[in-house]
């Protein structure tokens, strides 16, 4: 029994190939059924996130299982086996465990520490359990992966530092206003980043939205799309009195707002704070505006610098997170080893019980008639002798002295007590021949 992980991600496979594989599993139940039918595979789960497709299984014979999984992936339409084999990676045993932990904790992703991946794996696990594709080992492994991800989040600051510009803008607005509920947002022009920021702001419960555009017609369309009110640029100064947050991203060549305009507006606003985000290049807002009291102006460079700091912090935390992952991998491996010991322990106990029964039978036939009480005392005697004799070997096995090569000990124990009858006969046959 060994854990085997096969997959590809953004580092090994082109976007094109990943796109094709994203549609690898159109029918989830059917896919799980066919995978479970392979005799080499005991337990399996697969998951795909934005940038990866991976299959993780518990296999009787890893080599055979690997072939099965490769064949399964190549079965996707329009995928050439050559392209695939170049981009597939595989991990076995502890490496597979460590890889899963790193993926779940988002240490292996493009955006280090992003929280979505854990959710996607959780969802994949839910589906796998619904199909009854997982068993005791994968169940424990996946739950462990979730707890490792949680530990990484709480014990290292890897997810604490914002790295996306729009999210940073919202965080700054919160540091100015506290609660954003009921704030009025003024959108100057529109673009991808402005839209993202608006989405984040909406999630924080901002109230009114005003959209200003050079052409009123396009402004009206935008306003309709975001459920806001449209105004023309001429009204901008006037509307500035009512707005709290302004996001500007027009293609204008000149400043749309100058310092004195904002200063006049601030006087009319009775100095209520104003938060301005200028993500246009060239800039829409005069940088001198930031000198005014209670006005906070951030342009795209400012925001990107904060993002870069966030990246640096996350990278600093990476080493701690990796150490945590290694620690947990070792722990899980230990658990797996104890799992392997159990069949041997059960074999030992069964063998002892069988010997006791056989000897009891023999003795009873020689003793002649005895009372039921005497018979019971004999049974207790045999049971306690065998138990005491086995106690130390069992403890010895459970302790796993050889972390590097645990099978040595297990093998020795099995041979010592002759638990594998078949092998014994094979060996003796070999000797004879």
């Amino acid at each position: 029994m060994n854990l085997l992980l096969v997959g590809l991600n953004q580092k090994t496979a082109s976007l094109e190939l990943r796109e094709k594989l994203a549609g690898l599993i159109p029918d989830l139940p059917a896919a799980y059924r066919s995978l479970k039918d392979f005799p080499e595979i005991a337990e399996i789960i697969f998951y795909s996130t934005c940038n990866r497709v991976e299959l993780l299984c518990l296999a009787e014979e890893p080599a055979a299982a690997l072939e099965r999984l490769r064949a399964f992936i190549s079965g996707a339409p329009e995928v050439s086996p050559e392209a695939l084999s170049a981009s597939l990676y595989q991990h076995q045993g502890p490496e597979a465990v460590q890889h899963l932990f790193r993926v779940a904790a988002s240490l292996d992703s493009m955006v280090l520490g992003e929280p979505q991946i854990l959710g996607q794996i959780k969802e994949a696990y839910r589906q796998a359990t619904e199909q009854q594709a997982t068993g005791p080992v994968l169940n424990r492994l996946l739950h462990k992966a979730f707890s490792v991800a949680k530990r990484v989040r709480t014990e290292t600051g890897i997810g604490d530092h914002a790295v996306s510009v729009s999210y940073i803008a919202v965080g700054l607005a919160r540091k100015v206003f506290g609660e954003l509920a009921g704030m009025t947002v003024l959108l100057l022009g529109a673009g991808e980043m402005a839209e993202l920021a608006l989405e984040h702001l909406r999630a924080q419960g901002v109230g009114r939205l005003i959209v200003a555009n050079r052409t009123l017609e396009r402004g009206l369309r935008l306003a309709e799309r975001y459920q806001g009110e449209a105004i023309s640029l001429e009204e901008l100064e006037e509307q500035l009195c009512g707005a709290d947050i302004l996001i500007s991203s027009t293609g204008s060549e000149t400043y749309l707002l100058r310092r004195d305009q904002v200063r006049a507006a601030m006087r009319r606003r009775k100095q209520r704070p104003l938060f301005l985000i200028d993500i246009a290049v060239p800039r829409d807002l005069d940088p001198a505006i930031n000198d005014l009291d209670n006005v906070y102006l951030y342009n795209i460079d400012d925001l990107q610098e904060v993002a870069e700091q966030g990246w640096q912090r996350r990278r600093q935390e990476l080493a701690r997170a990796e150490r945590l992952v290694v620690e947990e991998t070792v722990k899980f491996q230990d658990w797996l080893l104890t799992l392997e010991v159990y069949p041997t322990i059960i074999g030992l106990k069964e063998k002892a019980a069988a010997i006791c029964q056989a000897e009891l039978k023999k003795t009873l036939s020689q003793l002649g008639p005895i009372s039921e009480d005497q018979r019971q005392s004999l049974e207790v005697l045999l049971a306690s002798v065998s138990q005491k004799l086995l106690h130390d070997p069992i403890i010895f096995l459970k302790r796993n002295h050889h972390r590097k090569n645990p099978h040595l000990e297990l093998d020795l124990a099995r041979r010592l007590f002759n638990l594998d009858q078949d092998r014994q006969t094979e060996e003796s046959e070999e000797e004879e021949s």
Binding site: V176, G178, P273, Q309
Partner: protein, 276 residues
Amino acid sequence: MTDYFLYLTLASYFGATVLWLAFFLAQRDSLCRWGAWTMAAGLVWHTLVLLQRTWAYGYLPVAAFGGALLLFDWVLVAAFLLLNWRYPIRVLGALVAPLAALIIYGSLILPRGQGTISPLLRGFWLTAHIGLTMGGYAALTLNFLGGIFYLIQERQLKAKRFGFFFRRLPSLSQLDTLNYWCLSIGFLLLTGGIITGSLYAQHTLGRLWSWDPKEVLTMLAWLIYAVLLHERLTVGWRGRRAAWLAICGFLVLLVTFVGANLWMSGYHSFAKFGKP
């Protein structure tokens, strides 16, 4: 016996200081909760100290500077706990707790004897005068501490450098609201203190105003706060400007409370050093 309670108070406030500072560094909610409870325990001991002294002297123990500090500290801690309960700006504890502990420590060093107190200076009006003024001082001290936090946070947002404090301090609007409330309440109490003091002076000395250094300085601080409040309500002086003015006002109050007693003389002065 009194000192026994006083040391307990001191220990509690130092404990609270450690907890609040740990909260400030680690940002764990439980630390701040424990900090508040430790401080509340300290306040109970503190109350016992004051009650015991009042009972022993027969009047509020404010004749000596040390005693006055004790009373001020009590009001400050009580005001902070009240604020922490109703409008929690939790980082404030990281400044209030050490301040409270230091004041207790100071009162241990400074003379705190019974002093000589004229029988003239007793009675309900005087107690009201002292109580209101102390309440005003406490609220305006909180305003001052909030102003410091505001300036730090505002500086970071303006300079776009986000250091150690950025994540740990609350938003500007929360700090500004805190400052506004403390200013309003503090101003009202201080005004009340001045009025009761004047009325009492009229009643006992026959004049409302006697150019005592403490009176003059208090009036100056009161004027600063009055201007600040007025401008805030009419043209919206808030944020940085308000924080700076609050700090100026507080410094004047500090000179009034400490300096006027140590270096200038007047009938507001506390018992001199060395006298029992």
